[in-house]
Structures are given as C-alpha cells and as structure tokens.
Amino acid sequence: MSVYRQPVSDTGAVITWCPGCGNFGILRAFKKAINDLGIPPWKVVVVTGIGCHGKFHNYVNVNTIHTIHGRVAPMITAIKAANKELTVIGLAGDGDQYAIGVGHLPHIIRRNPDVTLIVHNNSVFGLTTGQASPTSEKGQITRTTPWGQWEERFNPIAFVLSQGASFVARGFAGDVDHLTWLIKEAIKHKGFSFIDVLQPCVTFDRIHTYTWYRERIYKLEETGHDPSDWHAAMSKAYEWGDKIPIGIFYKVEKPTMEELLDPIKNNPPLAYIHLKPKKIGDLLEKYFSLTQ
C-alpha cells in the first residue's frame, strides 16, 4: 500500500488538497497563465475566500490575501481601485461565492473593475466535510441532504449574464490547457471577467467525477458560438445535464470602474502617492460658514 506524499508548493508550503483534487488543475493553469503573460509576481494579487480553494494563496509566489468567507469580490474591487496597475484575481469557492457571498456578485458586475474572478465550483462544501452547496444537483446525496437535495441548482453563468457581466466563461479543472487559455483571456479582457470552473471533488462528490464531466463537456469555440451574442450566451447558460458547454459564453467592452471614478482615472496608482496633508480651508469656507 502506497502512502500519499503531499507535494510542496513554490512558497515551500505543503499542498494539503486531497490527491486528485480539481484544485491542482486550477493551480497549474493559473501559474501557466501568469507565466505566459509575463506579469512579474509583485504586480499580481490573488484574493481567496474560505474553503478548499482558500489554500491557494499559500502555494503561489504573488501578493495574496486570504479573506473571510464569501468576501472576495469587494476585496478585489477595492484593491484595483487603490492600485490600478496591479493584475487582480479573485479565487472563490461555490459555497464562498454562490452561497454566503452571492450578494456581492451583482455589484462587482455593476462596478465593472478590471479584475478576474475565478470560482472553484465543486458542487459541495469540501473543507467542512461535504455539505450541499448551491450548485449541488437536485437529488444529490450530501452530508446535509441525506434524503437527496430538494433545492434547485443555482445557475452561475445565467446569473452573471443576466446582470451584464462583461466577460463570462466556464472552464474545467480537468482540461488545464483550455483553462489556461481562458484565464489568460480573462486577464487580458478590460473589465470584470468571470470564470466558473467545474472542479471535481474526489472525496465528497460521487456525481461530478472527472469521467462524468468528460462525457458531457464540449467547447463553445468549436461550435461557432458567437461570444458577442448575449441571447445565444443566455441559451447556452441553460444547457446542463447531457451536454455541458465550456469556453467563453459572452464578452463585451464596457467602461471600467477605473475609467468611471475620477480619483482613480486622473491619478497614478493611489497606493504609490506619498502621504500629504490636504488643505481644508476651502471646505471650511464652502460648507461650514467660515467667518473672517
């Protein structure tokens, strides 16, 4: 009987994901994408949430924040606002982004910062030992649904499309080359980019195995799908079951947060400007009835 030896990451931290975890594929694709794009590590920021995906930051030599559960979206928005020069990438889980943090999704879309959000969607809560998540199948048996999930499955692609996200894609952790391409396209896209990554949980999810996905997945770019056609994207978003599309569903150019907010637009990255007390005399005159 062989003993599993946990791999060591670039930072020296031991990788504690289960053997065969879909996160390994996402980690490989992420590192390859950053290398291919040639972005220096100090200009890359990764923010992770809570869950199995939320160990990722320990394994990459870039700037990272491991924040609290569900709050990746507001953090990446603010980081881009404070330093528009950085490549900012949020990594969240399906529990993280679609359950506790779903309330932030419409708002990052409305603000359209030039950041990328990748959701490690493994259809269960992994790190808390296998409870149902919003993307568990109807009828799926999990620790919290012993008689089968009774709630309907959340549709992430349709949700973000409905709110007008400027880049909407789906990847598969079992196809690293394709995912690498998607991540690169997402980073290069000006505006908010969203990638839902189908990620098998080899320990707690008996349904969504690598084989299950491989039997169903097909690539949108091989079907002549037009990513500028929002209605076509929306109808593809509802395809799930026997056939599951991956690739870029939708892509559009829209003004970004950095272009819409004057203090960001008109200045170098705010984080690089030296502290200086600002004059307030004009405010006292204008707003507070300053006497002479």
Partner: protein
C-alpha cells in the same frame, strides 16, 4: 427688556416643513454676530409628516448643551406644544400662524404671524415659510436683518433664484413682526465677545474634514443613520479632494473594501451605526489579524436591534472596545465634541498607521448630527506614514539586500510594510494564523510567537497614548476641591458642563472627568486623575443604563464609581435636568 447671556429657540413642525433649516440659518446668524451657538435636531424615522424639532441655543460664552427652558417657540404644528410643553414657560414666546395652529398653551406669550396669508399675498412658494419664520424670530430678538440675510444667502449658496425668494420671505417675516404692536418683552442677548475665526459644523462633518486633512484616499460605506451624513460629505470629496468614495452593497462589503484598500498601502475608512457595525465585526477581527489600520466610525443610536434609528445613545462603549472575535489590539477614541472630532480623526489615522492596528471612532448621534460653532480648524497638522515604507525607499532597500517580511517579529510588535506592487516585495496577509511571511501555520511555536507579537503592541500603544496624547480631559472645579465628580465620555460631558453652571449657583462644586481614549484604557492617567477625587462622590454620566465607562474603569483599574446617572430615551440631558439629578443623588 431683559438682557441675557444665552437664548434658546425651538422650531417644531412636520418633517418637510424646513424647520431644521430655520434653526441652522438662525444659528449661523448668531455665529456671524459673534455668539457661540449649538443646534440640535430631534426627528422620527420618516420622510414626510410626523413631528420634528430643532433647537438653537446661542450665547456670549461657550454653549455646551441645550437648556430645559426655551425662550422662543416657532410652531409649524400643534404637536410642537404637545411634545415640548415641559420646556415652555410663562415667559416663552410662541411664533405661529393663527390660522393653522390654534391650540396654544394659555401661559405662553403670543407673537402670531399669518405665514400662509403673507406667502400668498407676496407670491412666495410655501417652502419659503421657514425663512419667513427666521425673519420673524430675528425681529423679535432684535437681530440685525442684514446679518440674518447673509446667513440665508449662505444656506442656499449657488442657487440665485432660491436665495432671492428666501431672502424676500425672511424680510417679509422680519418686517411683519417688527411692525406688530406686541405687548411682550422679548429677551435680548448681551453683546457678543469676539472670538476669532470660526465655523459651524457637526461631528460627522468634522470627522470627514479630518479624513481629508489626514489624506484618506478611500471611504466606503452603506447608508445607516446617523452615520449617513458622513457618507454624503465624502461622496462630494470624489470630485473635490480626489477621494474614492463608494456606496457599498452592505456594511460587510464596505468594511472589506476599506480593509483591502488599506492593505495596498492607502488610508481608508468606513462608517456605520450599531447594526451595521455588527456586520463589520468579522472584518474588524480580520483587520486585527492582518494588522491593518482600518478605521471604522461608529455613530451610536439606541438599541438593541433597530432601536430608535434617529436618536442618540452611548450603549456601544463596551461593544466597541471588545468588538471582533479573538484577541487583538485596537485603538478606540471618543471625541470630546465637534471641534475635537476633527483633531482626533487626524490623530487616529496617524496612530493606527504607526502601530498597524485598526481604530474606532465612537460618536453618538448627538455629536454626529448636532452643530456647534467652533474655532476654525487648524491646517498645520502632521500626517505621518508610521510603519509604511514608500515604494521607492522599499525598492532601494530591497536592492541592497533587505528581505521584506510583512509580519516580521519586532520588539514592539510593529512590522514595517510596503505598498502592494513594490518590486521584489510580496504582501501576503492571511486571516488564518500565519508566519512572518504571511504563510499559514498552525504550529504551536509560530502561533505563540505571532499572537504575542500582535498583542505586545497594546502595551506600547498605551505607553504612547498616555505619554504623548490627551487621553483624559478634566473640566470644572479642581477634583481635590469638588463636592461631586462626574466621570463621563463623548457628548454626555456637554450636559455635565452645563450642570456645573447651575451647581455653582447652588454653591456645589462639580469636577468633570471626560475619557477621550477609551482603549487601550489609559489606566495610569485615570488612576492619577481619580486619586485627586479620593473620597468624593463620583457619578458616571452616560447615555446608557449600565454605566459602561464605570464598568470598564472597574475592570481595568478596580475603581468603582459611587453611582450611575444614565438617560436612555434617546434625548440628551439638558443642563438643569442633570444638575437636579446630581443634587438628588447627593442627598441619598
């Protein structure tokens, strides 16, 4: 005519009647003339109708708080008399439209003015009625019309047509009242004593101006009374002072955004009230773990839960200090008043950056939304980057071989940090326990080392605060000579200061101790201060029932106050009210 050192005016009416603006215009006119003034609002949580009240008290000396005697009552509705009858006396003068307000208390002196008729006759919009009332009150008090009109002009600055119409309405009100053969003798204020350049400002606004001075670069908040006016002011600063201000989708998002902005190396803050602060607690704890100078303004209102949304309270002292799960140091300051709010906001930015800890500004609605005339704020304040190294200095050091560790263990616990994006440096912050690099670790010796590194700061912060900052303020009679001592904080000190004036007349000497920096609790300065009040009755005066400052002092120092004088109905004490309460406690 009776000459007085102070005068109090109440303008009451339904929400939307513009009575608050009337009060503000009068307060400003008094300030222009050289008087001190305060303006206090009381309004329900609704937009139209109901009953709102605004008080202005002006005088020749510093005014701390309202009194329980109102000289002039402007009533746009009958509820004004029903709600505030207790502060209206036989020499109070009622200004009202006799066609609208019919039930006037018998003991009140009457100065009727047909607002609606005058508006109609002069082709004025009904919305200008509040300025007509300002004119009428000004005539009664003998204020110079030109100065009052200057205040009207400032109120509607930038809107020429509105200015003209309101000035006209004010003038008509003034002339009408001046021409009436009234059989009453309105009070007259003594001549003002000049006191230099001054402004009129609320606590929220003073904090906002402090943020501008302190080079805050991002403010993110979710609307919640009574912290919303701070957000309203900061959004203006997007265009005027290059500050990124964002209305977030929740208090959680607001706190997360402000924390993430801090993490990149810029000054950022958020503001809220009790319920919103509860939502921010997880992030506050994260700021503790990240050792980031996130600032949260907590504008208190009565709780629990939604409580009384538009009223004032000091129920969150202990909550503010201990908010956030786990142990971590933070700095909590409760500004003394509107003037102090500006200086403490700038100071807290510097302190939190020096020590890399989160900070909380505790204000209550009374401080947050009441106006006060104060000396114009000074410009020459230091803005210090504390533990942060600028990008260029850090890159220079890194080229020379410096190894950057965002959580380096140091003697005082403070690790130098760099803006995210600095070449050769990585900022890694983990909400999980981590090592000096910011990489997760649950090993016992690392946990011990990092936990103690963070907590060690508390001792040094306390030393710094007690040595270099005004952590406690004392007023009134020297504590050694006092007959009674008030131990208080925030806006509760104002009524205490007015109470002192009343007790002086009774031959009772009141000493007042106001704690400004509440955490780390300045125990040495506190002990030294209170040792001067040995064997004196010490009463805590706070807008809560438990006497939370007393509990805190007892917890940290063992000091036990004699008794607690609390008020929990959302309305601050008036000076005489509190004086009477103190006298009755002394008799017990």
């Amino acid at each position: 005519m009776s000459n007085r050192s102070s005068i109090q005016i109440l303008v009451g009416g339904p929400a939307g009647s513009g009575n608050i603006t009337s009060g503000i215009v009068l307060a400003r006119a008094f300030m222009y003339m050289g008087y001190y003034a305060v303006g206090v609002s009381e309004y329900p949580s609704l937009i139209r109708g109901g009953h709102t009240a605004y008080w202005v008290r002006a005088g020749t000396d510093k005014i701390y708080e309202l009194e329980d005697h109102t000289d002039i009552v402007v009533a746009f509705d009958e509820a004004t008399f029903q709600r505030h009858g207790w502060e209206i006396h036989e020499d109070s003068i009622a200004v009202y439209d006799p066609l609208v307000v019919k039930n006037i208390p018998e003991n009140v002196k009457k100065a009727p003015i047909p607002f609606r008729k005058l508006l109609r006759e002069n082709g004025l919009k009904p919305i200008t009625m509040n300025m007509m009332a300002v004119g009428a009150v000004s005539a009664l008090l003998g204020l110079p019309l030109d100065i009052v009109l200057k205040s009207v002009e400032y109120q509607f600055r930038g809107k020429e047509k509105v200015i003209e119409e309101n000035k006209k309405s004010c003038t008509i009100g003034y002339e009408y009242m001046a021409s009436q053969p009234l059989n009453i003798e309105p009070p007259r204020l003594d001549n003002p004593k000049p006191w230099g350049k001054r402004i009129m400002i609320t606590g929220n606004e003073a904090i906002a101006v402090g943020f501008v001075k302190g080079d805050l670069r991002m403010y993110v908040a979710y609307p919640m009374t009574p912290a919303s006016p701070l957000l309203h002011f900061m959004v203006r600063m997007i265009k005027e002072k290059d500050i990124v201000t964002i209305q977030a989708e929740s208090e959680i998002a607001a706190a997360q955004m402000a924390l993430a902005a801090c993490w990149t190396g810029i000054r950022a803050a958020t503001g809220t009230s009790g319920g919103g602060f509860a939502l921010m607690n997880e992030t506050l704890s994260e700021a503790g773990m990240f050792e980031m100078p996130l600032i949260i303004v907590v504008a208190m209102r009565p709780g629990p839960s939604t409580g009384m949304a538009t009223h004032s309270a000091q129920e969150d002292l202990l909550y503010g200090i201990f908010a956030g799960h786990g142990e971590f140091p933070k700095i909590v300051v409760a500004p003394a008043d509107q003037e102090d709010a500006y200086y403490r906001a700038v100071e807290l930015l510097n302190l939190t950056w020096k020590w890399r800890v989160p900070g909380i500004i505790l204000e209550d609605k009374h401080l947050a939304e009441s106006i006060r005339t104060v000396p114009a704020f000074r410009e020459d304040l230091p803005v210090e980057k504390g533990a942060l190294l600028y990008k260029e200095e850090a890159e220079e050091m890194i080229k020379k071989g410096w190894k950057y560790l965002p959580y380096k263990v140091t003697e005082n616990g403070v690790s130098p940090w760099v803006p995210t994006g600095t070449e050769g440096a990585l900022n890694k912050s983990d909400s999980s326990e981590h090592d000096e690099r910011g990489i997760v670790s649950e090993r016992p010796h690392i946990a011990n080392m990092m936990y103690k590194k963070r907590m060690r700061k508390e001792k040094y912060i306390l030393e710094d605060l007690e040595k270099n900052y005004e952590v406690i303020r004392t007023y009134g009679h020297p504590l050694e000579e006092a007959d009674a001592v008030i131990l208080t904080w925030g806006s509760a000190a104002w009524a205490s200061l007015e109470a002192k004036k009343h007790l002086d007349k009774e031959g009772l000497k009141l000493g007042i101790v106001q704690v400004i920096y509440l955490w780390p609790f300045p125990k040495n300065v506190f002990n030294e201060t209170m040792s001067r009040a040995r064997d004196k009755p010490v009463f805590t005066v706070e807008y809560n029932l438990r006497g939370q400052l007393g509990l805190l002092a007892k917890m940290v120092t063992g000091f036990t106050p004699t008794d607690h004088i609390g008020k929990i109905d959302g309305r601050p004490f008036r000076g005489r009210q509190l004086a009477q309460e103190i006298i009755s406690r002394l008799k017990r």
